[in-house]
C-alpha cells in the first residue's frame, strides 16, 4: 500500500480508493490535485483532506448537511461534466456525491464553515471540485451553530 506524510496523523498507509482528484486544484492551491480523504470514527463528523503532494497542507471539513441541514447544492453543466456526473439525473447527497464544507479556525474566534464554496466529491469517479455557489446567499465564513441559534 502507498504511504504518505500527513500533518495530523504522521506517516500513513493509504488505500488508492481514498484518494480524491482535483483536476483543477483548489482556489489558491492550483497545483494541489491529489488529496487523501480521511474519515476516522474518533473525529467524526469531522473529516480531513490531506494533500498528497504537500505534507503540511491539510483541510478540516464537515459534511455540508451537518453544518446546514437545509443546504442545497447547485451544479452547473460544466461542473457536472468535470465531476463525471450524468447531465440530467437527480443526484443524491451521500450516494452519488459528497459535499464538504471546509472549516476555518482563527485564533480567538468561532469556527466557520465555507458554504459558499463546498468541496464536492463524486462518489464513483472520486473526482472532486471546489464549487462556488453564486447567488446562493451562503457565506464563505458561516458560523458553526448559527442556524441552530436562529431557530431557537
Amino acid at each position: 500500500m502507498p504511504r504518505c506524510h500527513t500533518k495530523e496523523f504522521g506517516e500513513l498507509e493509504f488505500d488508492e480508493a481514498a484518494v480524491v482528484h482535483f483536476a483543477a486544484g483548489l482556489p489558491a492551491f492550483d497545483q494541489e490535485k491529489r488529496f487523501l480523504l480521511i474519515e476516522r470514527s474518533e473525529t467524526a463528523p469531522v473529516v480531513f483532506l490531506q494533500s498528497l503532494t504537500t505534507p503540511h497542507l491539510l483541510f478540516l471539513a464537515l459534511p455540508v448537511r451537518f453544518v446546514d441541514p437545509t443546504f442545497r447544492l447547485k451544479l452547473a453543466d460544466d461542473e457536472r461534466a468535470a465531476l463525471g456526473l450524468p447531465d440530467d439525473a437527480a443526484l443524491s447527497e451521500g450516494e452519488d456525491l459528497v459535499s464538504l464544507a471546509l472549516l476555518t479556525i482563527r485564533p480567538g474566534s468561532a469556527v466557520t464553515a465555507n458554504l459558499l464554496a463546498p468541496v464536492v466529491i463524486a462518489a464513483r469517479s472520486r473526482r472532486a471540485l471546489q464549487v462556488v455557489q453564486p447567488d446562493s446567499g451562503y457565506r464563505v465564513d458561516h458560523q458553526l451553530g448559527e442556524a441552530a441559534a436562529s431557530c431557537s
Binding site: 500533518k7 478540516l60 476555518t104 468561532a110 453564486p134 458553526l144 451553530g145
Partner: protein, 78 residues
C-alpha cells in the same frame, strides 16, 4: 461607487487598456467581455473569496485546532 447604465453592446473603459463590454443581458444575468493587458489579473470575486478562505483554512488546521473543533462541536450538540 460610480454607477453607470449600459446596454448590450456598450462598453466601459477603465484606466489604460481595460475595456469591459456588456455582451448580453438575460433575466438577472449579465454576460461581460473583458479586454485587459495580460498582467491585469481578472477573477470572479467569489473565487477570490474562496481562495482567501482556503488559505485561512489551511493555516488554521493544526493538531490543536482539531481538538478545539471537536470540543466546540460537542458543546454544540450536548
Amino acid at each position: 461607487m460610480l454607477v453607470i447604465r449600459r446596454r448590450a453592446g456598450e462598453s466601459v473603459l477603465i484606466g489604460e487598456g481595460v475595456e469591459i463590454t456588456v455582451i448580453d443581458v438575460t433575466g438577472s444575468r449579465v454576460k461581460l467581455g473583458i479586454d485587459a493587458p495580460v498582467e491585469v489579473p481578472i477573477l470572479r470575486k467569489e473565487i477570490q473569496l474562496a481562495a482567501r478562505e482556503n488559505v485561512a483554512a489551511a493555516e488554521g488546521a493544526s493538531p490543536d485546532s482539531v481538538a478545539m473543533l471537536l470540543a466546540a462541536l460537542r458543546a454544540r450538540r450536548p
